[in-house]
Amino acid sequence: MLKIEDLQVSIGDREVLQHIDLEIKPGETHILFGPNGSGKTTLLMTILGYPQYRVTAGKIEFKGVDITHMPVHERTRLGIGMSFQRPPTIHGLKTRQMVQICGRGAVDVEALAAKVNFTDFLERDINAGFSGGEIKRSELLQLMAQDADLLLFDEPESGVDLENIALIGNTISSLLQRDFRIDADLTQKDRRQQRTKMGLIITHTGFILDYVTADKGQVLYDGVMSCKSNPLEIFRCIKQAGYEECVRCTT
């Protein structure tokens, strides 16, 4: 379980997140909405432990461990994985090597790459000249190798063409143990009980909702969390009335 209590985060001198509470139980997936600059990426990066996002108050707990001040790689080893919005290029590091790093050497890189149409990119330097859509598939490939328990997705579908959206949507869904095409004979209830993976997905377009059935949705507005409810409803409300209106009527 991920449990965030009264979290406050600053970047430099600027307070970006205020009094954030969030709880993601094993098997749950949450959707995070919010306008540009509202602090969504900040929240994910803080959960991951990037040092420029400074926790000034509050607490983050994962699997019962207080990770508020834990270094990034220890959080990763505890089971947190992230699909980045704008990952850096590392020259001379082949995508194949990166996937091996993610899988601690114990994964079939070829087989995983085939799943996201990424075989042709394995010999390229990681993220070097990757297009927007290619970056998304590369990030998913790394997450598949990583086998994390809490998966954070920062706009996994933005800039992705229509055909690849299905690929990406279905891959995320299966990473979160929500792919109905697998073990089709299981009942909904069985599925829910067996599921352990947790997800937190940032989306602007809402396309991902066509592929991933999420449990909860929330809106981050001006650094404050609000509107905890059904993600489809929230999305509909945002589309019709805009963020400001949507936040006002539900809080």
Binding site: V72, H73, P88, H91, G92, R104
Partner: protein, 404 residues
């Protein structure tokens, strides 16, 4: 011929070099001891075997087409394992082979500076490696210049000749015994790549902290020839200065330089590369990676386009790991219209963002740093046989403990 050489050399014996700190040659006075010839190199003491192995020279000679090993001033071993390949000490060649006159001091000027002069006046030995016309010597020839004697000045002269339509790969290691502290190495190398021949020359230097090193290398590539020149120097060295120069003299000749340099505290490296594009359709590329770990590195590159239609690129990337200095000096000279020459130089430190990205995939900060440095140093060298690529990777890996 030698009298004339000696005369010219004598006149230049105090002539300071254009670049690099001046070295007092008279302070390297140790008398070389004679080590005698060795039929079986595996009889070398293990500690020395290990040391030369780090420079890519394997005493078992497995996977090699020929071997030359010199310790201090004496030739331990020189022989070829393949038809069409000649490996012999230069002193013997000077006595026995008439053709040597076409090559000896033909590219490097004996009176260029005090180091070239001293190499003529104090010549100890050196290797001649020659692939006969049409010979495809696909396994590497290995050559090692090893210094054991404390305070020795080693003066060698090497000739590498790839005759027409031949293929030749040379891996040469220069190293010092683990106990040696101070010494001097002066090495003249002249490269001849004839019509449609291919030569790859991979040099791995493993020096000692108080070593001074002054290689002097010039090569010529004829029509359709290819010369790959790889240089790796990642261990500490007091002072190293070299500026190998290649003349692309025939139509379509190609040369590529790759160098990997690490400047450790107390080390001063001044390493350049110059390629003159003198014939139509010639191509040149110089790629350098320099890491400063507290030492000083000057990395020069000079491309000179003398006829229209040539193409050349120069790239120098520097990584400041732990202080020190990296000075990249890329130069392009176009002497006519219609040449296509470019350069890029970038010096910086490791981006924190890259370290964090790797940490988010499970690596510790140190592992992430090592991974980025390894990536920085991994350059693809098209045309290099896998065995030599493996030697370069091994040298990189082995030096990691010195700077990571």
């Amino acid at each position: 011929m030698y009298d004339m050489m000696n005369e010219k050399a004598a006149q230049a014996k105090d002539k300071k070099a254009a670049l690099g700190p001046d070295i007092d040659l008279s302070s390297f006075t140790a008398e070389p001891t004679d080590h005698g010839y060795m039929e079986d190199l595996t009889k070398l003491p293990m500690i020395d075997r290990q040391r030369i192995l780090e420079s890519g020279v394997d005493a078992t000679e497995e996977g090699r087409s020929g071997t030359y090993v010199q310790e201090d001033a004496s030739v331990l071993h020189a022989h070829s394992l393949q038809d069409g390949l000649e490996v012999l000490p230069i002193k013997r060649a000077l006595k026995e082979k008439d053709w040597i006159r076409e090559y000896y001091w033909k590219l490097v000027a004996v009176d260029a500076d005090k180091y070239t002069a001293a190499a003529q006046l104090n010549l100890q030995d050196g290797y001649v490696i020659r692939a006969l016309p049409g010979a495809k010597v696909t396994l590497p020839v290995q050559a090692c210049l090893y210094i054991h004697k404390e305070g020795l000045g080693q003066y060698v002269h090497n000739l590498i000749i790839a005759e027409e339509d031949s293929e030749l790969h040379v891996i040469t290691g220069c190293a010092t015994s683990p106990t040696l502290k101070r010494g001097l190495h002066v090495g003249i190398s002249e490269f001849f790549v004839k019509k449609n021949a291919m030569l790859s020359f991979t040099m791995i230097h493993n020096w000692a902290e108080e070593m001074s090193v002054r290689p002097r290398s010039v090569g010529v590539v004829e029509e359709g020839g290819l010369f790959l020149n790889n240089y790796i120097c990642m261990k500490p060295v007091r002072s190293l200065q070299m500026y190998p120069t290649i003349h692309l003299a025939g139509k379509g000749a190609v040369s590529r330089f790759y160098s990997l340099l690490v400047g450790s505290p107390g080390s001063e490296l001044d390493v350049g590369g110059r390629i003159l594009l003198k014939a139509p359709e010639t191509r040149a590329e110089i790629i350098a990676r320099a890491i400063s770990n507290g030492g000083r590195i000057i990395n020069r590159g000079d491309l000179i386009g003398e006829v229209p239609g040539v193409k050349a690129h120069l790239e120098c990337r520097g990584l400041m790991l732990r202080g020190g200095l990296i000075h990249a000096i890329p130069e392009l000279q176009a002497k006519v219209d219609g040449v296509e020459m470019s350069h890029e130089a970038a010096v910086g430190k490791i981006a924190q963002e890259e370290i964090l990205y790797l940490m988010s995939r499970g690596l510790t900060e140190d592992e992430a740093t090592a991974t980025i440095v390894r990536g920085f140093l991994s350059v693809d060298i098209p045309g290099l046989p896998p065995a030599l690529k493996a030697e370069i990777d091994r040298a990189v890996e082995m030096s990691e403990k010195d700077y990571l």
